[in-house]
């Protein structure tokens, strides 16, 4: 008998992280001279919705393809539900549903036949297949469209069908690449609700999207990727409150934007604001004043009290929090490969 060694993969995917469903460990993918993914590491817990955002060409789709067992990493390891995507693709595929950016379609096939084909391809037989079709078509609200040819479907309907195909074998992990791209607002809302329902059902979701406002409302955590590298990862709040480092290497204070509406124009307000140590970038347009505020909420309340105590006639004092888009823009530099 020869000695049998335990592969590194078995140690890495240790059971102490049983709650982790998706895990990437220093994954890199190189195409010729282009490093599409560069030492990417993150993990997604069971039942979590993880948003994956980054500019075009950042490496999102490549990472998702690796997780979906369509590509192999040049270096590093990735696991889905504890199984290596490289060494156990068959086991991963049973657990995983992948919804690509583009929509793979067949001519002369209707919605029901399309889903039926994939149900058969996943090995579902007779009753199991019929039940799966029924549930999926009901969930995606395509049950009235069963006999409609795919070619005649709207973009939103196609996305539903694509999601239906992804769900046909009841995967526990879903990887959705730009599911909301090209959808109208109503279709986006419906898709968001479906994703929320899937998360409530205990499924783990990795969702990439360019529509950050949509993503912010449905995800538990976000990862921001650029040039193949993960720049930030955490909850949306954590990302928003993240102190960024400027080009000189100094830590920038997190700022919020405040909009002040006065009953009538009052030059004293601008003067008072200029004297406040937390205020910067003051812009006065008639009765409206906008400025950046670096202090916390208590200091914000103190500023408002000071203005009122000085008999400034304030109609509106609105603190606008940074959005995910702001965070995205501040974290990324818009560089593409």
């Amino acid at each position: 008998m020869v000695n049998i060694t335990n592969p590194q993969t078995s140690d890495s995917a240790d059971t102490s992280q049983a709650d982790v469903t998706i895990r990437l460990d220093n994954v890199s993918r190189v195409f010729g001279s282009t490093r599409a993914v560069d030492r990417l590491s993150f993990s997604v817990r069971r039942g979590e919705v993880f948003g994956f955002i980054g500019p075009n060409g950042a490496g999102k789709t490549t990472s998702m393809r690796i997780l979906s067992t369509l590509d192999t990493p040049t270096a590093g390891h990735a696991w889905v539900d504890g199984f290596s995507v490289v060494d156990d693709p068959d086991r991963v595929r049973k657990r995983l549903g992948w919804m690509p950016d583009g929509f793979g379609t067949y001519s002369f096939v209707n919605c029901e036949e399309y889903l039926d084909f994939f149900a058969r391809s996943y090995g579902l037989k007779a009753n199991d297949r019929r039940n799966a079709l029924k549930r999926v078509m009901s969930f995606t609200q395509l049950d009235g469209m069963a006999n409609k040819p795919i070619k005649g479907l709207s973009k939103g309907m196609k996305q539903r069908l694509c999601l239906g195909r992804t769900l046909i074998h009841d995967p526990s992990v879903l990887i959705l690449d730009e599911p909301a791209a090209g959808l109208d607002p109503r279709a986006r809302i419906e898709l968001r609700e479906m994703i929320t329902a899937l998360a409530a059902d205990g499924k783990t979701l990795l969702v990439s999207s360019h529509i950050l406002t949509e993503l912010a409302e449905m995800v538990d955590r976000v990862g921001i990727i650029e040039q193949g590298q993960l720049l930030a990862v955490g909850t949306v709040d954590e990302i928003l409150n993240r102190k960024s480092v400027d080009d000189n290497g100094e830590v920038e204070q997190t700022k919020s934007r405040i909009q002040l509406q006065l009953l009538d124009a009052d030059p004293r307000v601008a003067t008072m604001l200029q004297q406040n140590e937390w205020v910067s970038e003051i812009r006065v347009v008639g009765r409206e004043i906008k400025f950046q505020f670096a202090g916390d909420q208590e200091q914000q309340a103190g500023l408002l009290k000071a203005l009122i105590d000085n008999e400034c006639r304030i109609v509106e004092f609105a603190s606008q929090r940074k959005s995910l888009e702001d965070a995205f823009l501040s974290v990324t530099k818009g560089r593409v490969q």
Partner: protein, 596 residues
């Protein structure tokens, strides 16, 4: 599947799509039966059959075939209506059969293989192959699904022609063995071309490449279709191709040999087509090598058949020569495989000494590929040599020479022929193996993926051609074999000894012209042997290093799942997958429920 229900947003009412109740629930016995029976077929076949039934292409082709058959039948029967009573029905029968086969050739030789090619190529172009490949379907199931769809089409086209062919038999112009053989050639050829199409489709990774391959493939199919016409002429006219020819000993050997060769090549192509779809870490090599082993077994069976039926030594030499060329070509591709073994493959490596001794050569890797190829080559040559030697001992074995007289093949001739047919391909293959090892080390050859075997084949072709041409030039310059006439001398020489064909020519000349002085020729090969033997030993030593490997254990998570699945399997009663007949037909919704 767990119950899913999209949560309705509080502030937005979801669009309720009007329509009938879900059609996924079959409401009739017929529907349920179709659904149940379709479970026995490939999902790809079911989908493509549905597509074909709705497509114009299939409808148009099918209609054209029916119309053409009808027109041809009408022309043959009523074309010469003035002399209807004096019609030679035997000739009519032959002409009808010829025409039907020409018509049948279009779908079987062109449409079906090209449709299969396009079907798989389109999956690559549209990206749907990715959607299929991440299902639980295995790559070979995908390829077999495409093949079964093509075979279904063949059956449909044959069903149009079958009654007409029966008519030609009834008119007594053509015998049923010839009808059977013709249809077998048509269907077998169509299956072979379909598999070739599926293999080529795997290389169509981009639209441009796919179109380029499409053009060449359809042109090739067109040429083969012309060849089919020629073959039909031979069949119908009975010149050089009739039932008696096939029934003879030589005919049987040729037929079985040709069929076995094409069948085994089809098997290798099928495994290669599946390998193209498979995942990077999959073991792509072992199925191909098993198919090659089947090919080797058929080759050995053919040797025995030649010995038993033809009983002449020359075909054995021909088979040895064929084996030399074949394993050189296959070897060039095998030595170009990726050198590393994925963890997945390492898990499946034989763990016992016995297992390693027998199965290591079936595992992926250039070194193992080299050893596998030379092992198969030597097995073929040695089998041929053994049968030749045994001919002196057993009366059923080769006893006649080329001219029908008693065998005059000496042991030294047999050994020398075997040596020439094995040492040259061994040498060339060793050079290719060393060259590919060099390329792997100093270039980015490893990242060429599926192109690797083609690079190996091209390298092999260039290396063998260069060595042969240089040797040929030297031979022509120094030996002046043509002298002052167009007849060249076959005398062995130092200068031409690196050229395999010059060596074969000189040995063959001695064998077929009274034996000659074969042992006396040996010194002329010394320069070649001085280089070939060390080169082969060096390549073999390098390749043997690949046999050392470290099997790995399955990860804990995998072992856990296997154990859990086994426990579940033992706990469950052995029911068929899916459902029972009672479940299919017993639980139909009542009319009221269906109406609701």
């Amino acid at each position: 599947m767990s119950e899913l229900s999209p949560k309705k947003p509080a502030d937005v009412e979801l669009v309720q799509i009007p329509g009938s109740s879900l059609t996924a629930t079959p409401s009739s016995i017929g529907h349920r039966f179709r659904d149940w029976i379709s479970d026995f077929f490939s999902s790809i076949m079911v989908k493509e059959a549905r597509q074909a039934l709705k497509s114009y292409q299939f409808f148009v082709t099918y209609t054209i075939v029916i119309l053409t058959v009808a027109i041809w039948t009408g022309l043959m029967f009523f074309g010469d209506s003035n002399n209807f009573s004096q019609t030679n029905w035997e000739d009519v029968s032959k002409n009808l059969f010829y025409g039907y086969c020409v018509i049948l050739g279009v779908p079987l030789c062109i449409i079906v293989p090209f449709s299969a090619f396009r079907s798989l190529a389109r999956e690559y172009e549209d990206g749907t192959i990715q959607l299929i490949s991440i299902t639980t379907m295995k790559p070979y199931q995908i390829v077999l699904g495409k093949l079964s769809t093509a075979m279904l089409q063949m059956v449909i086209y044959l069903s149009v022609i079958a009654p007409c062919i029966a008519l030609t038999y009834m008119l007594e112009g053509i015998s049923y063995p010839l009808i059977g053989i013709t249809l077998l050639i048509a269907v077998g050829g169509s299956i072979f071309l379909t598999i070739l199409g599926l293999l080529l489709a795997g290389a169509s990774r981009s639209y441009a490449l796919g179109m380029g391959i499409s053009v060449f493939f359809v042109l090739g199919l067109g040429l083969l279709y012309l060849g089919w016409w020629t073959l039909l002429n031979e069949i119908v006219d009975g010149y050089g191709f009739n039932a008696n020819d096939i029934a003879s000993d030589e005919g049987q050997v040729t037929t079985y040999g040709f069929t076995a060769f094409l069948g085994s090549v089809a098997l290798v192509m099928l495994t290669a087509a599946a390998a193209q779809i498979s995942f990077d870490s999959d073991n792509r090599s072992t199925p191909i090598r098993i198919a090659l082993l089947i090919q080797l077994t058929l080759f050995l069976a053919m040797l025995v058949m030649i010995a038993a039926l033809i009983r002449r030594p020359e075909p054995l030499f021909g088979m040895s020569l064929f084996a030399g060329h074949f394993w050189l070509v296959v070897g060039c591709m095998l030595v170009s495989e990726k050198p590393g073994l994925s963890d997945r493959v390492q898990r499946s490596l034989p763990k016992t000494w016995l297992g390693r001794s027998f199965f290591s050569l079936l595992m992926p890797g250039p070194g193992r590929g080299y050893l596998f190829a030379i092992g198969c080559l030597l097995a073929s040559i040695l089998a041929s040599l053994t049968i030749g030697i045994c001919s002196d001992w057993f009366p059923i074995l080769p006893t006649r020479n080329f001219y029908g007289g008693p065998a005059q093949v000496s042991l030294s001739t047999l050994v020398l022929v075997s040596a020439v047919t094995s040492i040259y391909p061994l040498f060339y293959l060793s050079i290719v193996y060393l060259w590919m090892s060099f390329l792997r080390k100093y270039t980015r050859l490893q990242s060429t993926g599926a192109l690797g075997p083609f690079i190996g084949l091209l390298s092999g072709f260039l290396i063998v051609t260069t060595i042969s041409l240089v040797a040929y030039s030297l031979w022509v310059n120094f030996e002046k074999p043509y002298g002052n006439s167009y007849y060249y001398s076959n005398n062995p020489s130092f200068s031409g000894c690196f050229n395999w064909y010059i060596a074969i020519g000189s040995i063959g000349n001695d064998v077929f012209n009274g034996g000659g002085n074969l042992l006396g020729d040996l010194p002329y090969f010394l320069p070649f042997l001085t280089i070939a033997i060390p080169t082969t030993i060096l390549a073999s030593l390098l390749a043997i290093r690949d046999l050392r490997y470290q099997p790995t254990a399955a990860p804990v998570r995998v072992v856990e799942e296997i154990e859990r699945n086994q426990a579940e399997r033992h706990a469950k009663p052995a029911l068929p997958e899916g459902e029972s007949i009672d479940e299919i037909f017993g639980a139909l919704p009542d009319k009221k429920q269906a109406d609701e």
